[in-house]
């Protein structure tokens, strides 16, 4: 074998590959196996997916876009003292601020993720909401970074999270607009 290799050496020191048929075959199968595994993972991973939808909670405010991944909450015109709030909204007045709160339902379903037992959900404000305090469940939301709402969300069943907006008495009257970006990740 070594003698055969030397005889096939070309002048510029390139060596013509003339390994034995046994070694060639072994290397071929190793490579083929690796490539096959890779292709199998690609094929199975392309079927994995999550869906996230929001819907009106029976005790909460009626969501716009209920049943979709793009919901809206419209509190309309509200006052700390007096006035009315939409059905399903709770108003709490404190010493220096007041809070509007309402539950919303979150539904996350999975496909092709048999090994995932739960999900992580984060929420982040699109715009800075420094004047007000925004919360989803127990997580206080900002625009700086995603806040963890849950690290062990349950698939396949609606989970109610209370959204709350706290308005200081010192905040000027006017329109409040912001959007919560919600991200769920399979664990």
């Amino acid at each position: 074998m070594k003698e055969q290799l030397r005889q096939n050496t070309i002048g510029h020191d390139a060596t013509v590959l003339l390994s034995s048929s046994h070694q060639m075959l072994k290397h071929f199968w190793i490579i083929a196996m690796l490539l096959t595994l890779a292709l199998l993972f690609v094929e199975s991973a392309s079927a994995a997916s999550l869906t996230l939808t929001f819907s009106s909670d029976a005790s909460g405010i009626s969501l716009g876009g209920s049943g979709t991944s793009a919901a809206t909450i419209n509190f309309a015109s509200v006052h700390a003292y007096g006035g009315a709030v939409p059905a399903g909204v709770t108003k709490s007045v404190g010493a220096t601020n007041w809070t509007l709160s309402a539950p919303i339902d979150v539904l996350v379903t999975k496909a092709g993720l048999g090994t995932s037992v739960n999900y992580t959900m984060t929420a982040q404000l699109q715009s800075s909401g420094l004047t007000y305090t925004w919360k989803l469940g127990s997580a206080t939301l900002t625009s700086a970074f995603p806040a963890m709402v849950t690290a062990a969300g349950v698939y396949g069943s609606k989970t109610a999270y209370t959204f709350s907006l706290t308005i200081p008495f010192s905040a000027a009257a006017g329109t409040v607009n912001n959007t919560l970006d919600i991200l769920v990740t399979a664990n």
């Binding site: 060596t15 590959l17 390994s19 070694q23 290397h27 190793i30 490579i31 690796l34 490539l35 595994l37 890779a38 993972f41 690609v42 991973a45 392309s46 994995a48 997916s49 999550l50 996230l52 939808t53 979709t68 991944s69 793009a70 919901a71 809206t72 909450i73 419209n74 509190f75 309309a76 509200v78 006052h79 700390a80 003292y81 007096g82 006035g83 919303i104 996350v108 993720l113 995932s116 959204f163 907006l165 308005i167 008495f169 010192s170 905040a171 000027a172 009257a173 006017g174 329109t175 409040v176 607009n177 912001n178 959007t179 919560l180 970006d181 919600i182 991200l183 769920v184 990740t185 399979a186």
Partner: protein
């Protein structure tokens, strides 16, 4: 050469494996858009003053003052009610607290007015220094400080008035300045 080829193909296979989506987190996203129109507002409540008569509905915007059975000469008055008898009339007076708060508006003070719901041409009603009638709202204060302020309610009854029940309501309005 052979080893390099094998190594290279192995690395290619592993790279394909590692870059496959199974190693990327599976996610889904959504949005919840929130809107509200915050309007300014003022709160007005009445609270029993420590030195005054016990209000019914204390802490609310609908309080009651019940003097009970009273008489110019003799008899008793409720706790913390002062009876003053003059030459031609007598007066019952007691302090009560007015609590005013403002939200979502820059306002240094408030104006407080009071007006009788029912005309009373016989008795004299006063809140603080202001005589209250049903004809028009009287200004109790034009620069009230937010928070709790004590005002004295005084009801003056002429000796000439016939005995009987006295019932009336004072309508207060607090306006942010």
């Amino acid at each position: 050469m052979k080893l390099k080829l094998v190594a290279g193909l192995t690395i290619l296979g592993l790279a394909t494996l590692v870059s496959s989506p199974v190693f990327a987190a599976t996610t889904a996203s959504g949005t919840v858009a929130v809107t509200a129109t915050v309007a300014s507002s003022v709160s007005l409540t009445f609270v029993s003053d420590p030195a005054g008569i016990t209000l019914g509905g204390t802490g609310t915007s609908a309080a009651t003052v019940a003097f009970g059975n009273v008489q110019a000469f003799g008899g008793v008055v409720p706790a913390n009610v002062t009876k003053t008898v003059a030459a031609a009339n007598w007066t019952l007076s007691t302090p009560f607290d007015v609590v005013v708060a403002v939200a979502n508006q820059v306002s240094p003070t408030y104006t407080l007015t009071a007006q009788l719901a029912i005309a009373d041409a016989v008795d004299t009603w006063k809140v603080g220094a202001s005589t209250i009638t049903s004809a028009a709202a009287a200004t109790v204060t034009a620069a009230g400080a937010y928070g709790s302020t004590s005002y004295t309610l005084a009801l003056t009854i002429p000796f000439a008035k016939a005995a009987g029940a006295i019932t009336n309501t004072i309508n207060f309005v607090a306006t942010a300045n």
